[in-house]
Symmetry: C2
Subunit: 333 residues, 2 copies
């Protein structure tokens, strides 16, 4: 038992009541009188996992309270937290179509049980409800940021699709892809939380960079876990990145730093994309230090994130944000 | 040569300059510095066909000018017309994934050349840009209506997916599906055009019903053409509805009205879903009068649509809207 192990429910304590409100708003938004639609939405409830994005938004809002006259979390935050989680759920549903994944959060994916058609349309339904919910706010400013963010997320996903099987993808290009597809949304969460609590532009920008850096680190760790994680703990199909020719940081490092001979052997493995090879690829990447390298890059982004919170007054929410950044590195699923 | 044949460019004459502006706004919104994304967007330009939805929005705006102090078409109309066309393009791209279609507007579909993954994400990109563009307007009212509309469209698509292969689908259920998946957007176009020109609620509602009725008629005719249309004229893969077990009005009529023996024979054909049978199915549906029945239902909706415009003053735009309703029945593609 490691006493320093972080548990999300502990980190979420300052926003417990707020998160309950967010879940209620999501449930209300996804109500449908059509039985088949209601049934699919019920399935999507099971996709709600860590609620990281709503938590980032709410904690960011709370953490700026009192700074230069900024307020705290308002009912707008609850709506916006539901919006970002709906956007995230939509990307999960469509990602499962893209990745042909069979399992997510220990349950069969919608694409695998109801077909790609239903999954494509359910993802669209979730995106649509996200924007619909966002348009219930008084001002357009959040809709503009959310719309801009989803533009960037889609670009990141398209870049990733285009880069599949490009074994010479550079590290900067990889970082740019994950900055768009993952970190753009976490950055927007922190900015929205801050601005809607009344933070000024300087403070909002710092929180945005916190969210972006944390998001980049999160995705690097996610990619590492896809290679070396334990299937049981991850609750989703692993090894898909390798199979689909999706480049991840350990592989990029290996193909850049290993001897020509080793590179050739790795390229052959990647091109064959045999699922059985996952364990061997993991071993090679670990032994050569490529996993450690990728972890160190993630750690740098976590440090950068934590630095951004230095100017904030001590508070339970600030502590939680710092712990969430640490959690990214610690997590095993 | 039939002198009464309608040509869309003639009907669009009152809004020619406006449509050029709409295209420019769309092009600007879809600009991307990422080569792969820009290349896909270039492909999407080829999907722009009849521009029916922007035309409905603009003509609706023009047609109410002068009624109880309503103005005419504004720059907001141009933006909104681009928004609804982007929404429509997104549904086309995702429909091609759903229908596994290979051809649209005489060119290969994006799903067939770039894979379903790219098509799913490109559709998301288009939806995202539609909402992003909509959020550039001063007020949230359009975002709310567009968000509500896309919710309804997705529900219609999900109902349709769920009803595939349900050969006992009733006519009211079929109409409800197409009211949602197709007519909700055309209804929203006409309402948006009217309200943003300053029309009062009564007038806006009448134009909304015009758009809804026209949309229902349009989809019925689309479904008829999928069965009896000519491949060359339609510029897209035909017979998909039959193959995919999608129920259409001629088939619903046949399975309701034909003798038990004929019904059985038809059900066997539908279950086998042989592409070669399309010609024979078309013949059966035509000879039994099911195509004529479906056409008559479409005509009723067109009449209803045209009645809605009775209170409007004579104008070129009103004439165009009436002709567009007629065009729905006449069209061969």
């Amino acid at each position: 038992m490691n006493p320093a192990v972080l548990h999300l429910p502990d980190l979420y304590r300052p926003i417990e009541a707020d998160l309950a409100r967010v879940v209620a708003i999501m449930d209300q938004e996804l109500q449908s009188e059509l039985p088949f639609v209601a049934q699919l939405c019920e399935r999507v409830r099971g996709y709600r996992g860590k609620m990281l994005r709503p938590a980032l938004l709410l904690l960011s809002g709370q953490s700026v309270a009192g700074v230069q006259g900024a307020g705290g979390v308002t009912s707008e935050h609850h709506t916006l937290a539901a919006v970002v989680e709906l956007v995230h759920l939509a990307t999960l549903v469509h990602d499962d179509v893209l990745d042909q994944a069979e399992e997510r959060r220990r349950q069969a994916t919608i694409s695998s049980t109801n077909g790609n058609e239903a999954a494509v349309m359910l993802g669209d339904y979730l995106i649509s409800h996200a924007f619909h919910l966002c348009s219930s706010l008084d001002s357009q400013s959040a809709s503009r940021l959310v719309g801009h963010t989803t533009n960037v997320v889609c670009e990141g996903e398209l870049m990733q699709i285009h880069s599949r099987g490009h074994f010479k993808l550079s590290e900067p290009d990889y970082i740019e892809i994950i900055r768009r597809k993952t970190a753009a949304l976490t950055a927007a969460c922190c900015r929205l939380g801050a601005t809607h609590a009344g933070a000024d532009e300087t403070l909002a920008s710092r929180l945005e960079v916190f969210g972006e850096s944390a998001g980049i680190a999160f995705q690097i760790v996610d990619d590492i876990l896809d290679v070396v994680g334990e299937q049981k703990k991850m609750c989703k199909t692993l090894g898909r990145d390798l199979e689909l020719g999706k480049m991840t940081l350990p592989v990029i490092h290996y193909l850049r730093e290993a001897s020509a001979e080793k590179q050739d052997a790795m390229l052959k493995k990647l091109a064959s994309a045999e699922h059985d090879d996952r364990a061997h690829v993991a071993q090679l990447l670990t032994e050569f230090g490529s996993v450690a390298y990728a972890t160190s890059v993630a750690e740098q982004h976590v440090s950068r994130a934590m630095n951004m919170l230095e100017g904030l007054p001590e508070s339970a929410s600030r502590t939680s944000l710092l712990s969430m950044a640490e959690f990214i590195i610690q997590r095993e699923n």
